[in-house]
């Protein structure tokens, strides 16, 4: 028995939902305008995310300095006209480092979520669809992974793998697997009994094809909601790992790393080194959370206010 409710969501027709909500979907920007008004917070979240993605993509053009360039004369410069967010102890520009840092955070966020999500989906689908001993085996594996808090498992894995971007992504992805797998499995189990799957089976489709063609698309909604949440916690976990010295090493401008260095030396003497990287982490996660909330509202009618 699983007393805690799993998220089981039916697929939804966004057009219909919008129409039902009384949206004026006429005209080119109608839907967008409606969406922005109806889900103001979600839109803000989306805008924040877009800003960070653009920052990451356009880093070489919008950064004012090479993020690794050392300049003795500007060491520990407070925020000023040249160094908008100040400079660190090597005279490296904090603004440029944060801009380039967005690449790392997004890489970790997207990488871990995708990897964890893919593994989770694979396990969940197989487990839910094939059932039997495969299911039993995967279930136990999930139990094991779920019995360790995210950061604890990531810590041990990061130590085992050594500090690098790829390893950090992997170390964070694995603890994300069980939640995805459980949600997908529960949905798959529910879907299996639905008539259209029965029909596909009767039509002679192979199990694998049914799973991929029919079951997977119908579990997308909860997957998206979940992925947004995991994206945020992946970024937070990377920051914590780097803060503890087990994440992404120097000289890469990881926000968590930047914080960990400044926390050790400059809490008082150069507070901008503590404030801005932390703000960047908080802001991107905040954006994810806002967006995630709106997505949940849209995709999960049960939770809708």
């Amino acid at each position: 028995m699983k007393p805690r409710p799993e998220i089981i969501l039916p697929s939804i027709d966004i057009e219909a939902e919008l129409a039902k909500a009384g949206a004026n979907t006429q005209g080119r920007w109608g839907e967008l305008r409606f969406f922005a008004r109806r889900y103001l917070l979600g839109t803000i979240g989306l805008v924040i995310m877009i800003v960070f993605v653009l920052a990451a993509l356009l880093a070489p053009w919008i950064a004012t300095f090479d993020p690794l360039a050392v300049n003795a004369r500007h060491a520990l410069a407070p925020p000023n006209a040249i160094h908008w967010l100040g400079a660190d102890s090597f005279g490296r520009d904090v603004y440029s480092r944060i801009i380039y840092g967005a690449r790392i955070s997004l890489a970790v966020g997207i990488g871990s979520t995708l990897l964890g999500g893919t593994l989770g989906v694979a396990i969940g689908l197989t487990s839910g669809y094939l059932a039997g001993w495969v299911d039993l085996l995967f279930q136990r594996l999930i139990d094991i992974l779920q019995a360790l808090p995210l950061l604890v498992l990531a810590l041990v894995m990061a130590a085992a793998l050594g500090p690098s971007l790829q390893n950090t992504i992997f170390a964070i992805a694995i603890p994300l697997v069980p939640t995805v797998a459980r949600v997908i499995r529960a949905n798959t189990l529910a879907l299996r009994e639905l008539p259209f799957i029965e029909a596909a089976k009767a039509a002679g489709m192979s199990e694998m094809r049914i799973a991929l063609r029919h079951v997977l698309p119908n579990t997308l909604a909860p997957l998206i909601v979940l992925a947004t949440a995991q994206f945020g916690s992946a970024i937070l976990t990377e920051a914590s790992l780097s803060f503890l010295g087990l994440g992404i090493p120097e000289p890469h401008p990881s926000w968590g790393r930047m914080l960990s260095e400044s926390a050790a030396e400059y809490v008082r003497t150069a507070p901008w080194l503590v404030i801005f990287p932390g703000l960047a982490i908080s802001l991107i996660v905040f954006g994810t959370n806002l967006l995630g909330d709106a997505l949940r509202d849209i995709l999960d009618p049960r939770q809708r206010a």
Binding site: A72, S89, P163, E250, E261, A263, A264, Y266, V267, T269
Partner: protein, 529 residues
């Protein structure tokens, strides 16, 4: 000659130590934060001053560097458990007369047997074995230690080595009791010193308490010493500013943090001193392309030492060779000689032009750049200079990528020669050429990371080691040091300086300027509260 010196030193010591003639106050517990959790409480088994700071006060040596003289030298060595010492005529026997009536913290008497036990263990001759024995090579020249009754011990040497007495005076050379096992000394050490060990909770705290039966009457002044372990330097300094500690961990406060202390707690007393730790470049000279002397020399010449010192120390650190430069150091090359060594001159641009020529001669250019990995331990004191080094190497067609290595993997990596260029720190416990040369540059030494091996020069090591005339020995040491730098054996980038601070009510603290391993006996520290 020696007899006169002993009389002089003993006189000095009598004047200041044994007869507390000033208004020192008895009592109070000194609180200090500790930078990290020592691996064990056994000084002989460890090789970081984290141990000396916390545990040196439990012990006595045979002799020690006088605790209130900032510069360690042969002249500042005073009696401790030995009341006097004398060299034999051929300078191969060093005999100590031992103090009578000294007891260990558990009440057992101290005798010459304890001296023999200690050095037998250090030389690996005892059944009571250390788990680790990092300074075994200090006694390579000692044949054995013999005793004559309870009150006399003699070191028998293979050849004269005047530096031995300095090694014995280091905080690294406490006398251990015969009756405690090496394992006991790691967890609950027993000594004869001014403070007794109470407890060591890893990652949390270390506590010492006054030894009421200390053989120096009236000492120590303090009732005890409490260390709280705070690895985060910024947090620790905040706590010091907030008045939660009497003292910072010694020689660990950076320039920036010291400015903060001066601003926030102006009443605090701070000293900013060299501690005889240098940051150097290790190059894997066995692996191409670094087996080519031109490339090694080009790198050495590309180093802009002033820039390192200005970024990391706001200008307050020293340039030097293999030995700590004066005025803090006794043996190092004077600046005017130093500046004549390739790469040291003030004209960085000219040096780099030459360096680029060297690189071009072996086929590198702005279009054909050399890609290297610069390895550094994952600790700021290693990593920070590596970041600057990479930036500077760009000037001579070398593109460096920082390779951060976890502490647990660093030395095995270096020993495997699994690196191209590395950043390394060398701390000298005793400001003496013997220690620096044999340890870091002798063929086959464990700490000779680059495998620099020059048999001819090594003969010179022995010559200077046996020289009893100070001025002559110094001239020999200079010549060796200069040769080492010209050979790019292990280019020294800078000698760091760090601060130590204490609240104004703490009295009797002396920060030593040419070693950070020898000054933590704390017996004459007192609190004016």
């Amino acid at each position: 000659m020696t007899g006169k010196r002993i009389a002089l030193v003993a006189g000095l010591w009598l004047a200041s130590g044994v007869l507390p003639a000033f208004a020192q106050k008895q009592g109070g517990v000194l609180t200090m934060y500790h930078r990290d959790s020592p691996a064990s409480a056994s000084i002989h088994e460890e090789a970081t001053y984290s141990n000396n700071v916390a545990f040196m006060a439990i012990f006595n040596n045979l002799v020690m560097f006088k605790q209130d003289v900032p510069q360690n030298s042969v002249d500042s060595i005073v009696p401790d458990l030995a009341t006097s010492w004398a060299w034999s005529a051929d300078n191969t026997k060093l005999t100590f007369k031992l103090r009578d009536g000294v007891t260990w913290h558990d009440g057992k008497p101290f005798t010459s047997a304890d001296v023999k036990c200690t050095f037998d263990m250090l030389m690996g001759k005892s059944t009571n074995k250390f788990r680790k024995n990092p300074r075994k090579s200090w006694y390579d020249n000692v044949v054995d230690v013999t005793t004559n009754g309870d009150g006399e011990a003699t070191f028998n040497l293979k050849r004269p080595q005047p530096a031995l007495i300095s090694l014995l005076a280091s905080g690294y050379t406490p006398i251990y009791p015969c009756h405690a096992s090496a394992a006991d000394m790691r967890t609950k050490p027993i000594g004869t010193g001014p403070f007794k060990f109470v407890e060591f909770k890893i990652n949390e705290s270390i506590k010492l308490v006054r030894n009421p039966t200390y053989w120096k009457k009236g000492l120590p002044y303090l009732d005890g010493i409490d260390f709280t372990i705070i690895p985060n330097r910024s947090t620790a300094i905040l706590a010091f500013i907030a008045g939660k500690f009497d003292m910072t961990f010694p020689t660990e406060v950076t320039v920036q943090l010291m400015k903060d202390i001066k601003g926030q707690a102006p009443q605090a007393v701070c000293k900013f001193e060299s501690s005889n730790v240098n940051t150097n470049l290790i190059v894997n000279r066995d692996a191409p392309p670094f087996d080519n002397l031109s490339i090694r020399r080009a790198m050495a010449m590309a180093i802009d030492r002033k820039s390192f010192i200005s970024i990391l120390f706001e200008g307050q650190a020293d340039e030097g060779g293999a030995l700590l430069p004066p005025p803090a150091g006794i043996w190092g090359l004077p600046q005017e000689q130093l500046q004549t060594i390739p790469g040291y001159g003030p004209d960085v641009k000219k040096n780099r032009d030459e360096a680029r020529k060297l690189m071009e001669a072996v086929g590198y250019s702005a279009d054909k750049r050399l890609k290297v990995k610069v390895s550094a331990r994952n600790i700021p004191v290693y990593r920070d200079p590596a970041v600057i080094l990479i930036d500077q190497l760009k000037e001579i067609y070398i593109d460096g990528e920082l390779d951060v290595v976890e502490t647990a993997n660093w030395f095995s990596k270096v020993a495997r020669k699994d690196y191209m260029i590395g950043l390394n720190l060398t701390g000298n416990a005793v400001d003496d050429p013997d220690q620096a040369f044999y340890e870091n540059f002798a063929c086959g030494s464990e700490r000779n990371y680059t495998n620099y091996c020059n048999k001819d020069l090594e003969k010179d090591f022995d010559v200077q080691s046996q020289e009893t005339d100070l001025a002559k020995r110094r001239a020999l040491a200079w010549a060796i040091d200069k040769k080492l730098q010209e050979d790019v054996a292990r280019p020294v980038i800078f000698y760091s300086r760090y601060g130590s601070c204490w609240q104004s009510h703490v009295k009797g603290v002396t920060v030593m300027v040419n070693s950070s391993y020898n000054g933590y006996r704390y017996e004459d520290v007192w609190l004016d509260k």
